[in-house]
Symmetry: C2
Subunit: 360 residues, 2 copies
Amino acid sequence: MTDKHLWTVIMAGGLGSRFWPVSRTDNPKQFIDVTGVGRSMLQLTFERFTHICPKQNIVIVTGKQYADRVREQLPDLLPYQVLAEPLRRNTAPCIAYAAAVIGKIDPGATLIVSPADHAIFHREKFKADMEQAVQTVAEHDWIITLGAQPTRPDTSYGYIQFDDKPSLPGADNLHKVVTFTEKPPVEMARQFINSGEFFWNAGILVCQLPVLRDAFRKHLPLLADAFFNLGITTPWEELERVYSQCEAVSVDNGIMEKADNVHVLAASFGWSDVETWDSLYDVYRHDQNGNAVVCGNVFSYGSHDNLVFVQDGKNVILEGLDGYIVAAGADTFMICRRRNEDMVFRFSSDVELKKLIDKK
Amino acid sequence: MTDKHLWTVIMAGGLGSRFWPVSRTDNPKQFIDVTGVGRSMLQLTFERFTHICPKQNIVIVTGKQYADRVREQLPDLLPYQVLAEPLRRNTAPCIAYAAAVIGKIDPGATLIVSPADHAIFHREKFKADMEQAVQTVAEHDWIITLGAQPTRPDTSYGYIQFDDKPSLPGADNLHKVVTFTEKPPVEMARQFINSGEFFWNAGILVCQLPVLRDAFRKHLPLLADAFFNLGITTPWEELERVYSQCEAVSVDNGIMEKADNVHVLAASFGWSDVETWDSLYDVYRHDQNGNAVVCGNVFSYGSHDNLVFVQDGKNVILEGLDGYIVAAGADTFMICRRRNEDMVFRFSSDVELKKLIDKK
């Protein structure tokens, strides 16, 4: 039986811009079936948490332009379960808003905060880790963040340095956090990994709601004042006022780096933020030729190590192609070497620029 | 002013199977805007001949399944201008059928017979060549075929060997035909070209209708009997009977190789049968990186020598791709090295096979 005081906040406001041309500003990654299983990242995330807390305790925070999309993909939600943000203000305001609303409904809530668009493997292990974290914060006024074992010096991830000594006797998967480092240079990332003292930041938090509120009051007092006085429902104009006046800051920068009660739980589950095409390639199953076919009816001839993402059941013929991303969005087809996927930003801006020029 | 006794027969019954996945059995090459100009090959061919003979003297012969498509693309045709064949029986029956119908309307007609799906460049030169041929057959009981200057030992073309001596004094672009050779091995094709005695067979004929009828009577008497007794309109059942009983034979094999009054006019216009992706690449304009973009809103980064054919105004991102065909049909996207386009047959049969398996 799940704890009726356990709540989950799913942050679903991202733009997923590196996943172009499949993700677009009007259809970001969390709403896409990125892993080719027939359900979007948001739907998968929601479903994962229905095994951990009551369904009606799952709250989705998203941008106002995506609120309808959330309700489309998760049609049975109650009104308070979809919170629309008037402006993008990074994760701290997003979490404060959700915590404020949940606090009005259930002041003694325990919170799990999770991104909507990360891939989680081994969901039983995920559930067990969540249960351990929830159990721990029931007994300690801590904020627990989840850390994933780093496997390569990825420069797009956040890194968490942890204290060598376990936080609790007998729990050697739980350590006090020493530092947070967002997106380090590759040399630094390499040193982090070699030191054995770092996890990747999986972006998942677990804590008692009052502990979180106290942390906001201490480290982001203006934000705390603005948000924790809101009711269960807030007139849209007032919410716009609050968001337009509040600081845009991540919970990692604003709270986690400063608070001294942050501990990291080593995730036993597999994790990827699937923030890039190549990270999807890494986590996806490969056929005997190293091709990762997420979607697309692929016919491959002498082709290796490609990532294919072509929706709508289209046939894809690959002949003599090695190491490419082959991806199709609504109006764009992309063939790009996997090692050059950093150019995706340039592609998307070039396409947008051309649209503007064509309009004139 | 165009001669009211000049008629054109456009043969539009091909399957264009090498142009997959853009051309399909239900949408063959002649109905496609292969050259990216906004009009199909058939429309371009029709338009080209409206400058040469009266519009109402242009007759299209096509398969019964394509007759509606012809009327869609050329909406102003009179009933006798679209002749539907019940069965595919190669070019000799097709030409006999059209000649029979035209002969009933205009027994003294001069005929031009042309494929619907070849690319012609320099249309003024094309018109001048047609005028010379028409003028010549008005004075001589000859069948004139058009020959294109070969530029490479292409093994998919037909070759016409011609007599060194001009057919007429002062007309050194007109020679008596010595032999026809269809699709020679590459070594033979090379020898043909080196000899300087061969043209490519452009598949265009010009002659007086009675001369053509006499040639049918002499060389394909059964076909002549079956077709030249038909009226302007023939009940469908009778046409089915005629076609089901008639021999399937090309006009080159059945008539041209045997007749001794066949002359070849050296085309001064540019010609390609555009029968393969690579032949389209050859004739199409290349950008400074050697990319031939027939259609598709291409954004190219470090990519060279590709042929792109992606319809419906879609964006196509090419990054680090050299020497490929990038083509999209309704339900299939193909990336294939240009030098391996012979595999297209295998791709299409593999896709069809998979469809059959999936249905079961």
